[in-house]
């Protein structure tokens, strides 16, 4: 049995992503530490601040620190570490910026990391073999729209408005809505889905819209979101071979880490395309897949 630790950037992922992946890999254990702040909610790379470390910097240091020999030894170290963040909207036009920014930050932090050449070489090796970084595109809620049961849970007891996301024509990772009632409604700072900011391509806002009877959105990440993600059917999400490529990258990476899934599930996941930014691994990688 392997122990897989998740480093997430949201309360929903912290509480439910491990449980959802554990259903696919029941012989292994997934654990989550308290989530970090995400680093993709602004255009990357981040503008450096003279005194305050960027979230990206903290994220990279956390990935490195888990396998640093100076980390505490009285707790079990994970066999593998998965860092997960959303693509979000600011970098959706070029998700490669996320990987580039993280990779550069990891390289910079590793160059500064204390230790002798041997210990740093060993740390680099551990990062290449045990640590991965994956993204949810554009954010985790998108995948609920690919799994009807998850969508039911996220809008329970029932949506207050009709869902106009077209799964037949649209990849959830390129989330696009053709719903004028949602897109054209006037801005209202007190309303979670009508406040200023982009609505198109934003599945979380659309869930708020779907669960708003006119008195405020019912959708809560820490409640509906957790229940939907914990039970998410990844094989259903990844059932179209050309879609959900970032999600399939994550699953492909996990299969290589932890061994094959049961056959019927494996077929749906393994026959499709992965996203080249996150799987397969590049030759000059700093992490397993980066």
């Amino acid at each position: 049995m392997a122990l897989v630790q998740l480093i997430t950037t949201g309360v929903m992922e912290e509480r439910a992503l491990g449980r959802s992946l554990q259903r696919l890999f029941p012989d292994h254990e997934f654990i989550s530490k308290p989530h970090l702040d995400g680093f993709t909610s602004a255009p990357l790379p981040p503008q450096p601040h003279p005194r305050v470390p960027a979230n990206l910097d903290k994220f990279a240091a956390t990935l490195i620190g888990v396998f640093d020999p100076g980390n505490r030894r009285d707790r079990p170290r994970p066999d593998f570490l998965l860092g997960i963040d959303d693509v979000e909207l600011f970098n959706v036009d070029d998700p490669g910026r996320i990987m580039t920014a993280l990779r550069q930050t990891l390289e910079r932090r590793l160059a500064e990391w204390p230790g002798n050449a041997r210990s740093i070489d060993r740390l680099r090796l551990e990062l290449r073999e045990k640590v991965s970084f994956h993204v949810m595109a554009p954010m985790t809620e998108a995948y609920f729209f690919a799994d009807p049961a998850a969508l039911d849970r996220s809008t329970a007891p029932a949506p207050d408005r009709a869902n106009r996301f077209n799964l037949a024509t649209c990849d959830v990772e390129a989330f696009e809505i053709d719903d004028p009632d949602y897109l054209d409604a006037t801005t209202d700072p007190a309303c979670r889905w009508r406040k200023a900011g982009p609505r198109q391509g934003h599945p979380k806002r659309y869930l708020c819209y779907l669960t708003d009877p006119g008195t405020g959105a019912r959708y809560r990440e820490s409640d509906h979101g957790v229940r939907a993600l914990a039970e998410l059917e990844w094989p259903t999400v990844a059932s179209d071979a050309q879609r959900a490529r970032f999600a399939r990258s994550l699953l492909a990476d996990l299969i290589e880490m932890l061994g094959p899934l049961t056959e019927p599930v494996a077929e749906a996941i393994t026959t499709g395309e992965t996203h080249p930014l996150t799987w397969p691994p590049p030759p000059d990688r700093v992490l397993r897949n980066l």
Binding site: Q5, K33, P53, A61, G70, D74, R109, P114
Partner: protein, 427 residues
């Protein structure tokens, strides 16, 4: 009747005080399982999840001090509100509840006492022992009205702790005519070791006596602001802070203590840059304070009742620290309450300066990332309490290498449950 020549009958206060390396011990006591706590000189901090015993740990020095001064019963009553639920339920029943101290530099001394509960109170004549370099010098079996010296010489002993023998026991013994013939029969080497124990215990007692314990949540801020303080000649801050106004005035008016007043006011001006002057007003037996701000017209001031909670909290913390004389120990629980991060930084820096100039030990308990981040340059001063530790507390540098810690904000590691939290991976 004059005490016998070998008995050191000076009071603890007669001894020159100097800081001795001192380890506090507790076993199966309330939320504490196994505690061996060596408090370093300077400012240190204790962190841990809720319900792990931080507040109890911080009161351990006070508990032992009161036990020495007024007996175990009084100490338990003061700190734990009585004996009920005193035993740590996670410890085996065979482990006695106990307190202890380990001290000394060239020669190591060790004192332990068991806390036995009977009839709803602490049983008299507890099992107790004093060791020098591991060698049993003086001991008492539970329930015995005699102490045993060097394993063979017996003397009658009242219910005082033998750990406090410098203050009570030997003086008392000297006054007991019945005991003197016995003492005379002791061989010279036993008398010498008794004298040594007496002197060492006196220095220990002087150190214990110089400890005080404050908890932000015990400060009675609302009554203090509304009704002021009772007139008092106090020179030390009470645990609930209620004498702060006459205390400050007393310090100001006494040349030997004026530096305490200056320390408090100067630090308050560092924390609150526009803070101007203070004035004291007395009506009958009530003393209160006024505050001016440098942005206000000359001569304008407000009563302290109109000041912010953060202002009065910082004032009380500073008075708590200034109350400690040289070589003292001050513990402050929840130091961050009501304070802005900048105020916390300035306060801790001022505490460090005060600790250095007065040879103090100051221990803070906190749940604040900002407080923890003030210890980045010396993480060995961060002590971690966690539920499954075999021995508590552990210095942060026992858990992580200093190189590892240098890569992170300690506050971030704490918030991320890398230490001082309930580990979610632990079933």
């Amino acid at each position: 009747m004059q005490p016998h020549r070998w008995l050191d009958t000076r009071q603890a206060s007669d001894y020159p005080r100097y800081m001795i390396p001192l380890t506090y011990r507790a076993r199966a006591l309330g939320p504490l399982r196994v505690v061996d706590w060596a408090i370093p000189a300077g400012v240190s901090v204790v962190v841990g999840p809720n319900r792990v015993g931080k507040s109890t740990l911080l009161r351990l020095p006070e508990l032992i001090k009161i036990a020495f001064e007024d007996g175990l019963n009084e100490a338990i009553k003061t700190v734990f509100d009585g004996v009920s639920h005193l035993r740590n339920l996670a410890m085996p029943a065979s482990t006695p509840i106990s307190l202890g101290l380990l001290w000394g530099a060239d020669i190591e001394w060790e004192w332990d006492v068991d806390i036995t509960i009977g009839g709803g109170e602490i049983a008299s004549f507890p099992r107790e022992c004093l060791r020098e370099e591991g060698h049993l010098m003086i001991s008492r079996e539970f329930g015995s009205k005699e102490i045993e010296i060097e394993g063979q010489w017996r003397l009658p002993m009242n219910n005082k702790l033998i750990g406090s023998l410098a203050r009570y026991a030997l003086t008392d013994l000297a006054m007991q005519e019945m005991a003197l013939p016995s003492i005379e029969r002791f061989p010279p080497e036993v008398r010498e070791s008794m004298e040594r124990a007496s002197r060492v215990a006196a220095v220990l007692f002087a150190n214990l006596k110089a400890s005080s314990s404050y908890r932000t949540y015990h400060y009675e801020i609302n009554p203090l602001l509304r009704f002021g303080s009772h007139h008092s000649s106090a020179l030390n801050l009470m645990a609930n802070g209620e004498n702060v106004f006459p205390l400050l005035r007393n310090w100001r008016d006494r040349p030997d203590l004026e530096e305490r007043y200056e320390f408090v006011l100067a630090t308050m001006r560092e924390i609150f840059p526009h803070f101007g002057r203070v004035g004291f007003e007395q009506a009958g037996q009530t003393v209160t304070m006024t505050v001016s701000d440098r942005r206000w017209p000359e001569g304008k001031h407000i009563p302290i009742a109109r000041e912010s909670t953060g202002f009065i909290t910082a004032l009380l913390h500073l008075c708590a620290v200034a109350s400690a004389g040289h070589h003292g120990l001050v513990t402050l629980d929840e130091v961050e309450t009501s304070l802005h991060p900048r105020a916390i930084r300035v306060l801790i820096e001022a505490m460090r300066r005060r600790a250095a100039s007065h040879d103090l030990r100051i221990v803070l308990a906190t749940q604040s990332e900002t407080v923890l981040d003030q210890f980045r340059d010396d993480p060995s001063r961060v002590f971690v309490l966690e539920p499954k530790q075999e021995r508590s507390p552990q210095a942060l540098t026992e858990l992580f290498s200093p190189e590892y810690l240098s890569q992170f904000s300690l506050g971030d590691l704490f918030a991320h449950l890398e230490f001082g939290g309930d580990d979610p991976t632990d079933p």
